[in-house]
């Protein structure tokens, strides 16, 4: 075991898989000599050589498009897009090729690649650095979409993503890259994609979140516990495929649902979770499924960030509203 923060767990997962499988390679802008703007790939070039960890020109479409060719050619590329807002430039490659090549070729050609990119705001960064695009990737089809919220999960999910035979978008909550440490096994372990994690059991309300927002959600659960309320906290971990089973089982038990995410409300992931709940647990619902999400605005620059981020007190308040609802 070593005590790692989330970004170190990412580095660790990359190193462990590069060590185990010579087909794994890591590239993107500034990931080589500099070790990444968040230092997620630090040390990899020294250890595995320039052929397996290298810098690319400023070319997001190029990075993803070349990775597709490499993957078809038998490699397992793990690419970094420096900030998620810049993945838009790679959407053509991602949606029209990476996601589709298995189906297009009826299973004869596959694209086992991982696209890593930071997720979410709260880091006082310039424009385009704080995007939450999970619902876009989730709706694209043919992509798995993963967001860890702890160092342990980050390592296990990233290893699973690298080993997955299909393309995976791996979103890393930048705000909590270094905020907590956790004991993480030194060896490789994979956490199955597509499984949500019930982080705390509870009986009165199902609280669903993921990524950096889990930190506030945990705090809200504590605040509510202090007030004597029993909340079941679920970390979604995988956006696509959504683990409706776990969600529905929980809502059937608690009868109430609150989904919290930083991404904008309209057409966001919360709507899908709510839909899954009404489809699977309608007769158990004691209150309207609710969401507390980012509004349909762009993440403000540093001085407006406080208007945008969701704090634990807001979650607590909203949870109390849902708990207070009487049919």
């Amino acid at each position: 075991m070593s005590s790692l923060c989330l970004v170190e767990a990412v580095t660790d997962a990359l190193a462990v898989e590069m060590e185990a499988d010579p087909a794994v390679l890591v590239f993107g802008q500034d990931v080589g000599g500099k070790g990444g703007v968040f230092r997620a790939t630090v040390g990899l070039q020294e250890r595995f050589g320039e052929e397996r960890c290298f810098d690319t020109p400023l070319s997001e479409g190029g990075i993803v498009g070349a990775a597709i060719g490499m993957a078809v050619g038998g490699l397992k590329p793990v690419v970094e897009i420096q900030f998620s807002g810049f993945t838009y430039s790679a959407f053509n490659q991602l949606a029209n090729h990476a996601a589709r090549l298995r189906n297009r070729s009826r299973g004869s050609l596959t694209v086992p690649m991982v696209l890593r990119t930071p997720h979410g705001g709260g880091i006082r960064a310039p424009e385009h650095h704080s995007e939450c695009m999970e619902a876009l990737f989730g709706h694209m089809r043919g992509l798995k979409v993963v967001i860890p919220s702890t160092p342990y999960d980050a390592k296990g999910l990233l290893i699973a993503a690298i080993r997955d035979p299909d393309p995976v978008v791996f979103l890393e909550p930048a705000r909590i890259y270094r905020s907590v440490r956790q004991e993480v096994p030194q060896e490789a372990y994979a956490i199955p994609l597509g499984k949500a994690r019930v982080e705390a059991e509870g009986s009165e309300l199902t609280l669903v979140s993921y990524g950096a927002q889990m930190k506030e959600a945990r705090e809200a659960v504590r605040q509510l516990a202090a007030k004597g309320r029993s909340v079941e906290l679920i970390d979604l971990r995988t956006i696509y495929p959504l683990d409706a089973e776990t969600l529905v089982a929980s809502v059937r038990k608690t009868g109430r649902l609150l989904v919290v995410h930083e991404a904008s409300e309209s057409f966001g992931a919360a709507a899908e979770v709510m839909a899954a709940a009404v489809e699977g647990a309608f007769e158990h619902l004691q209150a309207p499924p609710a969401r507390l999400t980012g509004p349909d605005v762009f993440a403000p620059l540093a001085r407006g960030e406080h208007h945008y981020l969701i704090r634990s007190e807001q979650i607590t308040l909203e949870a109390e509203r849902v708990l207070a609802y009487e049919p």
């Binding site: 190029g62 070349a66 078809v72 050619g73 299909d166 959504l242």
Partner: protein
């Protein structure tokens, strides 16, 4: 390597003239054997007949949108002839002759155009080829990635990627050439400049005089060849492949050619171009030219020409019927190739749709 044909000086590599005579300088260049030329000729005739039959089928309502390679056959046939069967082939969609040359059965290609994804089932080690793919300009990046994978494992396979001149306007095309330049990728970028991108003439696609000269912006060589000349295409591709195999990096080859037919069977070129232009290019037909060459060299008799044509037509008809007879994809087929394993949401959705 291609200094003698610098496109910036208005030069074009051309070996076989419209009368079927080979230029002298051919002796200094790689050149296919007589058997290979005959094979290429047969492939090109089949590709031409396959096109004509497909247009016919489309009129009968038996074929959805189909893309023709009529008039451009020498480009992809010559290129694939110059490569090894295990060199990667990344087509756009107008490389029928090349696909046949690569050994892909015609019924499978027809199956694709007929609207069955199974036509694109191309086991990696059988064909070393990617399926036809529609978003123009996006495929060359895959070629760059393939070349990287081959080099990393120490193989000397090279990669050829095709695209139209229209595709060169796309951002992904630029990114592919730039990466290839930086990585010294073993890739041949082959642009079939057929003068038109649907209704847009090449002169409005870009302000550069040639496509070939764009290569220099990426730090490697570009060369323009007569794309209706099998020998010129062969010589250029073979040299580019040798260079790439030796670690010399990428080459951009512009096959200067012409789309004799419609863009696709859904298109009517009379909306945007004049017949006289088409007629001018008909005289430069690559098939006619090759035929003349083979006749002059005594490798083909007049009678053979008709014979080959008829056999090819018959074959096209038979192969289409084979494709048409095949079962439609099942409901399951539309689901099961989305991922290696069917994930929860898809399994649920499939269950719900089962009759």
């Amino acid at each position: 390597m291609f200094q003698a044909y610098d496109p910036r000086e208005g030069k074009r590599l051309s070996l076989l003239n419209p009368e079927g005579c080979l230029a002298d300088c051919v002796s200094a260049l790689p050149r296919p054997s007589d058997e290979e030329v005959l094979e290429a000729y047969r492939v090109m005739v089949l590709a031409r007949q396959a096109d004509e039959w497909a247009v016919n089928l489309n009129r009968q309502g038996r074929m959805p949108t189909y893309v023709l390679n009529e008039g451009q056959e020498a480009n992809s046939a010559g290129a694939l002839l110059a490569l090894r069967p295990d060199d990667w082939f990344v087509p756009a969609y107008r490389e029928l002759a090349g696909m046949i040359m690569r050994g892909l059965p015609l019924h499978q290609i027809y199956l694709y155009w007929h609207g069955n994804e199974l036509g694109s089932h191309l086991p990696r080690e059988t064909y070393h080829m990617l399926p036809i793919s529609v978003p123009v300009g996006s495929q060359p990046l895959h070629a760059v990635g393939l070349a990287y994978a081959e080099r990393l494992r120490g193989s000397d396979r090279v990669v050829i990627a095709f695209m139209g001149e229209g595709a060169t306007s796309e951002g992904d095309w630029h990114e592919a050439l730039n990466l290839a330049g930086v990585w010294k990728s073993g890739v041949i970028f082959f642009t079939q400049n057929n003068q038109w991108a649907i209704s847009l003439p090449a002169g409005k696609q870009t302000a550069s005089a040639t496509v070939a000269e764009k290569a220099f912006a990426y730090g490697f060589e570009g060369v323009q060849v007569d794309g209706n000349d099998l020998f010129a295409v062969y010589a250029a591709v073979r040299q580019a492949a040798d260079k790439a195999r030796a670690g010399g990096g990428p080459t951009l080859i512009e096959g200067y050619t012409y789309r004799l037919g419609a863009h696709t069977t859904s298109d009517d070129p009379r909306h945007y171009r004049v017949d006289s232009e088409v007629e001018r290019w008909r005289a430069l037909d690559p098939l006619l030219r090759l035929e003349r060459y083979l006749r002059l060299r005594g490798l083909l008799r007049k009678k053979d020409v008709q014979d080959i044509k008829q056999k090819c037509l018959a074959r096209a008809q038979a192969e289409f019927e084979q494709a048409e007879r095949l079962n439609d994809p099942s409901l399951e087929d539309t689901f099961r190739f989305m991922f290696h394993e069917l994930p929860q949401p898809l399994a649920r959705q499939l269950e719900r749709r089962r009759p």
